[in-house]
Subunit: 427 residues, 2 copies
């Protein structure tokens, strides 16, 4: 029976029962963290071999003869470009290898546009107003970067096929202040949606009012499948933009943060020839180049894209039971109650839950009170403001499957309790 | 006999002889590079053990219990902070550990001042005019950063005790547009001078007209001695600034680029409590933190400051003969001729040579023609413009000592030849 169909008396009875359960749950003294897309220690063990891939007896020469121990190689060693290009489904000439994380690259791209402008366009710091489109729910660290630079953020609703492209086209093609859009196109954060071919093609065929409009295509989860035989696929945005006559319109980002080790991986940017040349001119001023030994370490360990994919199945084997534990509880406990919706992703790091309007903050607070930490409600929206107060991001990776089941039990209890209280307000 | 005392006839005879020698030298087909402060492959071998310091069986837990393989630790692991603090002669609470090079930190500090301002001051991009003082000769990559941001650079002459402090005080204490000064205070690039105690104290006691004036104290060569028993020392700028009531006035930089491996080392910034807090707020937006496994690798390999210092003596053993080879040739061939001055540094990576006015470009060109590559003349000055066309930076690290001797022979020949030609112009 849907909660909204219950009478006041039924809701009160239910509330009493849930209150009792909640008191019992609190007494268990749980201390679980579902707040961050952070691998567990066990999961990190699958990458330990990386640390043996290079030692003092290794040949430390790159394919092009460069001594990886010395200065040089501003844009990365050839074999690392190839590996990351294959990961992103593009070709090495589109790729620059960076340091240990792609977030820095994104920050840099916004910061450089702000200070110096992109491909000869006016630096954003000289303009009165800059806007970014933000598909929501989305990734808080994207929004934090644009907020930091005083960029106005506009919410764009997501569907299972990607952002609302009618809205995206309307804004991008008509408003020259719209300079960018944040995208996590595959296994999106937090919903796990993958942009459809039609969505990608509509992106590639935008006709931006601003010359320096850029799609910030954060392919963070491009090879982060949960299943061997049920995998989402996505079109290559770089070649789609080329075909559409918009080669310079996209910056693509990826890293091995959740492939090898978070913080000790390698990251990459992919873009058009003109963008790459523009960026390299800047990089010469900014850095002596990134860690080539770590690049070599990654190539020696993973060998090629097949090695990468095989490695990701080891991660999947650990992640899958955790996702399934959450989904099992959600399906069993919440199906048919009309107090929340969710989606079973085939990859990525998150499960997104939409509670009844006005309930997310209270649910997160109730969970916290009973020892289960969730991402703050609102964090998946620009300015931390979910206008519906509905979306909650669940990160199943860090706890064990057993802990995830416990945490999920508490979560659904809190969802029920807060929903009942909400419904009672209007009775 | 000084060249300037020679008659026209003597000079012409000498020129004939030198021309002949130069033709012979060219015929040797040398191919040597003295252009960059780049360690040789043999020198890099002394650090190979670093690559064995961590493997898959290592304990990867930092002193504070953090799993170095995972997210977290924005400002570095405690033991890396301690190591780099000891290197910089400061304390860990002043230190943030960064990625693989200090150049990025310097760029970042300028870029952030430009986009967001320092400690609440107006962002530099909102001001009409920003100036930096540049002790000359200096480091081209410093000047490239400030040039990139459209910052006006003002030459400050160097002496063996450091920059001309009368000029520095005059500018800094009176002109609010002066926001910074680039310093390489120990074994300076390229002269190898070390700032005297008096110079450091005068720096610490500046009374800047601008609240957001900062000393960019690039301690790149702080432990890069050439000798075990003849080592320059320098006062700690951080504590001197504290004592003088100017705690926030300095950003200090250091790295292991020329300690372990260029491009695969760790870098650090040291600053006051207020600056560190301000920077960490920004770092949270910009990065997920730097490579903690590489931090741990460095700490496990070097252990402590004693380990670092012992390691630097291995570098010194390789660098010393190269420096001495150059100095031997300079002393033997050029002493008393009045056509150049130089200094025998006790550390660092360079020997600086001042030719007769108007000769540097021609000397570098002549060397290049005969197969010896030197840093471009002018590179040691802002905008690549040495007003005297006199300074040449010699980087002895990359070739072997024998090659250095050969290259130096050619160098002094070119100095003589160009000087004679110069003197003949006025006869």
């Amino acid at each position: 029976m849907q909660y909204c169909e219950m009478s006041k008396e039924e809701l009160l009875t239910l509330k009493n029962e849930l209150d009792k359960q909640y008191t019992e749950a609190k007494a268990k003294g749980l201390k679980l963290d579902m707040s961050r897309g952070k691998p567990s220690a066990t999961q990190l063990n699958v990458s330990l071999g990386l640390l043996d891939a290079i030692n003092s007896t290794s040949d430390l020469t790159a394919e092009d003869g460069m001594d990886c121990r010395n200065y040089g190689g501003l844009d990365g060693i050839p074999e690392a470009k190839k590996l990351m290009a294959d990961m992103m489904d593009t070709t090495p000439e589109h790729v620059i290898i960076y340091g240990n994380a792609s977030l820095n690259i994104m920050y840099d791209q916004v910061s450089r546009a702000y200070t110096h402008g992109l491909l000869g366009n006016t630096p954003w710091c000289k303009l009165d107003r800059i806007k970014f489109l933000c598909p929501v729910p989305g990734y808080d660290r994207h929004f934090a970067i644009t907020e930091r630079f005083g960029i106005e953020m506009i919410n764009i609703p997501m569907s299972v096929n990607g952002p609302d492209m009618d809205m995206v086209e309307e804004y991008v093609n008509n408003d020259p202040a719209v300079k960018g859009i944040w995208c996590v196109p595959k296994y999106s954060n937090p919903q796990g949606f993958t942009y459809s071919d039609d969505t990608v093609k509509r992106f590639a065929n935008l006709k931006p009012a601003a010359n320096d409009f850029r799609i910030f295509w954060d392919n963070a989860y491009i090879i982060h499948h949960l299943y061997e035989n049920q995998q989402d696929t996505i079109l290559d945005i770089i070649s789609e933009c080329e075909k559409a006559g918009n080669p310079d319109m996209v910056f693509e980002f990826a890293s091995t943060s959740k492939v090898s080790f978070p913080g000790s991986g390698i990251a990459a940017l992919a873009a058009s020839e003109a963008n790459i040349a523009d960026i390299k001119k800047q990089l010469t001023i900014q850095t002596i180049g990134h860690d080539k030994i770590n690049q070599l370490r990654h190539v020696r360990f993973f060998k090629d894209i097949n090695g990468l994919n095989a490695h990701m199945m080891k991660h999947a084997a650990q992640m899958r039971p955790k996702f399934e534990a959450v989904l099992e509880v959600l399906n069993t406990e919440l199906s048919g109650l009309g107090i929340g919706t969710w989606y079973a992703p085939r990859g990525g790091y998150f499960i997104s839950f939409d509670a009844m309007q006005g309930c997310a903050k209270k649910i997160v607070a109730k969970c916290k009170e009973a020892g289960v930490k969730l991402t703050s409600a609102g964090a998946t929206f620009p300015y931390g403001n979910d206008p519906e107060d509905s979306n909650i991001r669940i990160a199943p990776s860090f706890p064990t499957p057993e802990e995830m089941a416990q945490a999920s039990d508490l979560f659904v209890l809190c969802v029920k309790l807060v929903s009942v209280e909400k419904l009672l307000e209007t009775k």
